[in-house]
């Protein structure tokens, strides 16, 4: 039988307990320091994730800022966006706010994946309008026939109901290399043409000047179009999805005559690759036709129009508010008949160009830490 130890004297237990307490304290202290360091590192990673998310959210908005993006916003209004970084590395939300005709603020809050860290940043975007110089109500390189009750007006006419800057000085009614190429009927003494002067002969007009617009060639402008159509006979009028403007409708070119309507601020760049016939009603923006343009049914358009072929208006004709450039090497004959009207309008041109402009970061001080 094993003898049972009865002697409980000595200090071994006390020493062991003391040692355990001491070692426990030291281990606890080291653990605490380690935890603190880990937390600091963890927070640094989270902050960086939030910063990166904010950056990506803001930069994506600018990178995807196509022509006319956000042009439907009124000054002071904003549109929200959000997204998630690939791999779940964070997420962001923000708004694009229109500050004035040319400036926007992209405000983005970035978050770490678990949303414990947040970073708030801003980017200033300035839109860069297309440079389509309108030098006359109607500028053409070839022959021009004016008849019926057509009227070509180089005086600056603001569109009805639009908020516009003061009118600019009148431009020529017609700008053409050789005035002998103009044929009129029922327009004695050029009574159907107004402007300063009514007709300006400009021998410098050539193929290049009619196809080059600022930094862009016609073909480059075409690539910027956000409304691509392939000719045909179309009735152009605003359309809605619910109470919102249906910008996907190829025949919706905005609503220039109803300034408070949902499509009032929609200004597309329309590119027709082929002959186009328009039979009513109204539209706005920049119209580029790679072919002939035939207008009837009292169609009204607001903004610059560039036609590489023949512009022809018949019947109740069309009303162009802005300016028309007909450019074609083999331009046969421009015909303005019926009761067509071509009005120069600096306001319509400016609004169309601004609202179809692509956006770029401001050239300096575009990045803002919003805290």
């Amino acid at each position: 039988m094993k003898a049972r130890l009865r002697n409980e004297k000595g200090v071994a237990l006390a020493v062991a307990v003391f040692a355990l307490v001491v070692i426990g304290g030291l281990v606890g202290g080291a653990f605490f320091v380690g935890m603190q360091e880990q937390k600091v590192g963890f927070n640094t990673v989270k902050h960086q994730q939030a910063f990166s998310a904010a950056q990506e959210g803001a930069q994506l908005q600018v990178a995807n800022w196509g022509p006319g993006a956000h042009s439907q916003l009124s000054v002071g209004d904003s549109v929200a966006f959000n997204g998630t970084l690939s791999g779940g590395a964070g997420w962001y939300r923000g708004t694009v706010m229109r500050l004035n005709d040319l400036l926007y603020l992209v405000r983005t809050e970035g978050f770490s994946p678990d949303s414990v860290s947040r970073h708030h940043t801003g980017l200033m975007v300035r839109v860069r309008p297309l440079e389509i110089e309108i030098d006359a109500a109607l500028q053409t390189q070839g022959k021009l026939k004016i008849g019926g009750s057509a009227y070509i007006n180089g005086n600056d006419v603001p569109p009805s109901g639009w908020s516009c800057d003061p009118s600019e000085p009148a431009k020529p009614g017609i700008s053409i290399p050789d005035a002998d190429d103009i044929t009129t009927s029922g327009c004695g003494g050029l009574s159907c043409v107004d402007g300063d002067p009514k007709i300006q002969e400009d021998p410098t007009i050539n193929d290049s000047t009619m196809t080059t617009f600022g930094d862009y060639e016609f073909d480059e402008l075409a690539t910027m179009a956000n409304k691509l159509i392939y000719g045909g006979n179309r009735k152009i009028q605003p359309s809605l999805i619910g109470s919102s403007c249906d910008t996907s409708d190829p025949n919706n070119w905005g609503d220039p005559e109803n300034p408070s309507a949902p499509c009032a601020n929609y200004f597309p760049i329309i590119y027709s690759n082929g002959d186009l016939t328009v039979n009513g009603v109204q539209g706005q923006g920049v119209l580029l036709v790679n072919g002939n343009l035939s207008v009837q049914g009292n169609f009204r358009f607001y903004g610059p129009v560039v036609v590489r072929g023949t512009l022809k208006t018949t019947g109740t004709g069309g009303h162009f508010n802005g300016g028309v450039i007909a450019a074609n090497v083999d331009l046969e004959q421009n015909t303005v008949l019926g009761n067509a009207v071509v009005n120069y309008s600096s306001c319509a041109v400016a609004k169309a160009l601004i609202n179809t402009a692509p956006g770029f970061l401001m050239s300096e001080r575009s990045w803002i830490n919003l805290y």
């Binding site: 000054v75 500050l99 400036l103 309008p129 050239s363 300096e364 575009s366 830490n369 805290y371």
Partner: protein, 304 residues
């Protein structure tokens, strides 16, 4: 000694005495206890040293990390290449003076321009920043659009906030407003090119530099330039750092070192952090531990 073998009480005392410790036993016990206590003390001492070194190193790393987080976040926002005047006021190896952006407002109506003076009315909402406009230390930058048909004449107008910043409802539809009076508008008359909706940024002039405390330890400090009293009190930013432990280098857009404040495109920052106290190193000697961290900041807002 007289013996009493017939006395039972005496016999009992004799038995208890036999169960006690001898002097040898006591001595051995004391020595062993001393050895154990000494060992425990050594372990304690060693662990305390390790703990202290750890704490010092954690502080040191935290310091250096803070430097990398804080300094670039301010320098990031600078525009050294501003077409009117650089945001870098002075540059040096051990200090940098710059215009630190403090908030963002938007103009709610075209400013009143009178040459080198003017008044600008701002939306109170939206506005962003850590604080409002402080007329005692802030100046402003306002974006001037000038001719809307071109971006090549755009620039930021520089001006001094000359008077009190008044609150009101002067914005369209009686919205809350801030009215700011300005002088030293530069270029003169340039407020005429500012449109409604233009962004306005206020800034204060800040200097980052190294300074020693009373104990001789060096710190990174900052101070703000006040319009009336000159440089304000030094605020410790982080430290301690080694003597000469804060260095700036400046590079232009081609990556070449420059001393031209308008040509700076990138700033290199080197921070050599130092522990608060000397600690025992792995080699046994007691000294301050230092850690070096170098980072570079590209100035995001430089004119492109």
């Amino acid at each position: 000694m007289i013996s009493h073998p017939a006395n039972p009480a005496h016999s009992a005392r004799k038995g208890r005495a036999a169960s006690g410790f001898t002097l040898i036993e006591l001595l051995i016990g004391l020595v062993l206890t001393g050895l154990v206590a000494g060992s425990v003390y050594q372990v304690l001492l060693s662990n305390q040293r390790v703990y202290r070194v750890q704490t010092e190193r954690v502080d040191l790393q935290g310091n250096v990390r803070a430097a990398v987080a804080m300094v670039p976040s301010e320098l990031l926002e600078l525009n050294a290449a501003d077409t009117v005047d650089s945001d870098i006021v002075t540059l040096g190896d051990t200090l940098v003076t710059y215009k630190a952006m403090r908030n963002l407002f938007f103009v709610c109506q075209p400013p009143i321009s009178a040459g080198a003076t003017g008044t600008v009315v701002l939306w109170r909402n939206p506005s962003y920043g850590l604080r409002g406009i402080d007329s005692n230390r802030d100046s402003i930058l306002i974006f001037a659009e000038n001719d809307p048909s071109t971006r090549f004449d755009d620039y930021w107008v520089h001006a001094n906030v000359s008077g009190t910043v008044a609150t009101g409802t002067a914005c369209p539809m009686s919205a809350p407003s801030l009215t700011v009076t300005l002088d030293n508008v530069y270029p003169v008359g340039s407020l005429a090119g500012v449109e409604e909706g233009a962004p306005l940024r206020s800034f204060e002039v800040v200097q980052l530099f190294t300074y020693p405390d009373l104990a001789g330890a060096f710190w990174m400090g900052s101070r703000v330039f006040g319009k009336s009293g000159g440089w304000g009190d030094v605020q410790p930013v982080l430290g301690p750092i080694a003597n000469g432990g804060l260095r700036f280098t400046y590079f232009d857009a081609n990556g070449v070192a420059t001393t031209n404040r308008s040509a700076v495109a990138r700033v290199g920052i080197q921070v050599i952090g130092r522990t608060n106290e000397p600690v025992k190193s792995t080699f046994g000697d007691i000294r301050y531990v230092v850690d070096t961290l170098t980072t570079h900041v590209a100035l995001r807002n430089n004119t492109r």
